[in-house]
Symmetry: C2
Subunit: 173 residues, 2 copies
Amino acid sequence: MPTTLVGATVEGRPNFVTIAHVGIMDLGSVSLGMAKAHYTNAGIKENGTFSINLPSTEMVQQTDYCGLVSGRRVNKAKLFNVFYGNLKTAPMIDECPINMECKLMKVVDFPKHDVFIGEIMATYAGEAVLADGVVDYGKVQPLLFTMTDKSYWKLGERFAQAWSVGKTLTRDE
Amino acid sequence: MPTTLVGATVEGRPNFVTIAHVGIMDLGSVSLGMAKAHYTNAGIKENGTFSINLPSTEMVQQTDYCGLVSGRRVNKAKLFNVFYGNLKTAPMIDECPINMECKLMKVVDFPKHDVFIGEIMATYAGEAVLADGVVDYGKVQPLLFTMTDKSYWKLGERFAQAWSVGKTLTRDE
């Protein structure tokens, strides 16, 4: 899964937590599976907003750090240049090549997790990661994560076109 | 996102559809964001079961094909060796290195999508993709997908350890 830094205002201050258990719901909304023990959850519920920031591989140390320490104890926002959009309470990270500002739609309750479903109100992407007007993930260099071996991975090569490479099989139908 | 082949029994027959809009909810459950137009949705609702199969990059043609054609018209199960687990109605693909058999827990309704949330009842992984008893995604070679440029990508190199690489920053707190 892509590793993200989730931003929220908690007790009046910007905070960020590392979350790789994300999901895509429909084309305009996303989910975050967040253990209830996280300091950030209360802030998302209080303000009804959060951000999803995609760090690049070169931000691996700061990203991992935000999953190691709690905002209860440490001001993690000092690591980043923080900016805000129209929602005002969803802090975003300027150093991340992609930022999404989200409005909380629904919380799905699991025994030990809150799953926050949010509508994406705005997406920010620097010119440096665009190609032909759309995001080029080869330029984003997302930080991928696997839980089984607790590892971070790079994205490999783009090698085929979707809704296209399978057309060779339609002749066999 | 990882590209998956979702299996379900539809009108009494095994069917598979390509879905990359997946999500992780808590450690034992997952989501599928599926456009309501898909033939498969009715089968998931009827039986309350589905499977998630992770194809490897070498299955890119068959995987893409399952997103190009509808099970209403074509028997896509003929492409694969199909097997079943305890749930009986969640067809799985033997050629895929990882299979998960899921029980439907909840449907979250979006205007044009059904989001199916399922509890993972069993996971199947061949010896060939294990290392030290856990799944090694370097061996799985998952088929990654980006929507912006409709592309399939390979997984790159493992380059850092999670809950570890960020510890260098804790000395600066």
